[in-house]
Point group: C2
Chain length 259, copies 2
DNA sequence: CGTAACATTGACGTCATTCAAGCGGTGTGG
DNA sequence: CCACACCGCTTGAATGACGTCAATGTTACG
């Protein structure tokens, strides 16, 4: 894990204000004067696949903004098996729950090389009482979490395995995943996969390990593998590179039951 | 639907402050002075099972606090089938999403006779900028929604049908459902089912229609029916009255896989 | 080159869905 | 008051889907 301090932000100005994804992030609505209220360092961290941002039950004193990469939120069941409850993409906020409780409620594990900003809880609290512009962003973030949780339930945990995999592919394709790369500030930049418009009849989409696909959909690894393999044989998915496919959107729609 | 206006609350004082469930509700932390900021009427409404508080996609300008009864939040799938994504109990808040968007995102349908307070969006907004005490409650409410959504996914949408039904019964029993009755302000009051402590080896629990049970767990009505019927034959559930059962908690735990 | 980790596939058993029928209660109209 | 229709719950039988266990193939990496 590499950590670098954004000194400028600590000073109160710059970096955060000039951040290339600020319009996506928690601080989107902040004004110049608001940044003077930041009195603690905002660290930037870079994590590789498999590493954890935090673990469930950990005591935490920071929320995170994901700048680039992909992260899974995992919840463990009493029997030890795991269920992925959400995916986080650039602009998303992690760990909001510590603003209400003390501990993180999921494990946040990196799926694709991730760059994050660590925002101390005190910074959020301070801004929270000083400026209403953060409130509205906080509300939006919470709202987004609830919406994603509900969608996850109705779209990815309902119906048969084929329909679930198809819906997963559709959501992955339509949200426009990042191709690879590290961040979007310029350095190491790699072109984004342009967000697929739903009108397109084909799109590209990166998949994860079959185990993760299973844990997202509430099916076994084998079922996930079988279903994806069948899609490939049927030509609904075409290999582009390892775990990257071209998707036949209309076919997926049909399978997903969206008619 | 019966509606009565709480004039006193409109005046800014009384009713809300003296509300018997205020410590549970959105206004829990408000202080006397804060109530002066309420410049719009807070209506109280009483709904019967089957009626809707609001429908998905409706434009909305109010949030609701549930005073008594039970409400389901339903999301419809493209194919017309429905999935219940959350249950709301006394003290819970409905419709928070209109503070961020314009429309409600679920249909809120009454399962057991319900009494609600309708809080105009403007009241929340006004209080929101004036007092931080509402913020923290709003955050708690959002947090609660996310938590329940995540639990719903990991506990009620994972594992086989027997385990799911068992977990549903456990959550219903441990949250202490209301027996019947209309509200908790005195009139028509009926004793609550004392919240079951997890140490108890048996508890009582009210169930809903098999169709609803199925829609909560992501299984068919028949599977829900068969599973419940089997639990009754095995003595895990014992009839007390129509759709009210005594539960053998340790047995349910075993079936749920909590070991 | 060998090993480990992951993906695929097969065979089999179990479980859930589907379609259909029967049962019991409730409400309505004759 | 009875007959009938209706609705929700239960149950059965057949089918299909998914989970399980195990073997094989594939890729990546030391």
């Amino acid at each position: 894990m590499k950590t670098s301090r954004i000194e400028a932000a600590w000073g109160g100005q710059a970096e955060c204000q000039g951040c290339s994804i600020r319009d996506l992030a928690l601080f989107a609505d902040l004004q110049a004067s608001d940044f003077n209220l930041i009195h603690l360092p905002i660290d930037e961290l870079s994590l590789d696949p498999g590493q954890a941002v935090y673990h469930a039950e950990d005591e935490g004193h920071a929320v995170f903004t994901l700048r680039s990469g992909l992260i899974k939120l995992v919840q463990y069941l009493p029997d030890g098996s795991q269920r992925i409850v959400r995916l986080l993409r650039p602009g998303d906020t992690l760990g909001l729950e510590i603003l209400v409780g003390q501990t993180y409620e999921h494990s946040a594990l990196v799926l694709r090389p991730a760059l994050l900003c660590r925002i101390p809880q005190d910074v959020v609290n301070r801004l929270s009482v000083e400026t209403p512009r953060l409130h509205s962003q906080l509300m939006k973030r919470w709202h987004q979490s609830v919406r994603q949780a509900d969608e996850w339930l109705t779209e990815l945990s309902t119906g048969n395995a084929k329909a679930r995999v198809a819906r997963l592919l559709l959501t992955l394709a339509s949200t426009g995943q990042q191709l690879a790369g590290r961040d979007s500030t310029g350095r190491d930049a790699v072109p984004y996969c342009r967000p697929t418009r739903l009108e397109d009849s084909e799109a590209y989409c990166d998949l994860f390990s079959r185990e993760d696909v299973g844990a997202m959909l509430g099916v076994t690894t084998e079922t996930a593998s079988r279903t994806i393999a069948e899609f490939r044989r049927q030509g609904v998915l075409t290999d582009v590179q390892l775990n990257r496919y071209r998707c036949d959107i209309p076919a997926l729609r049909r399978i997903a039951g969206d008619i």
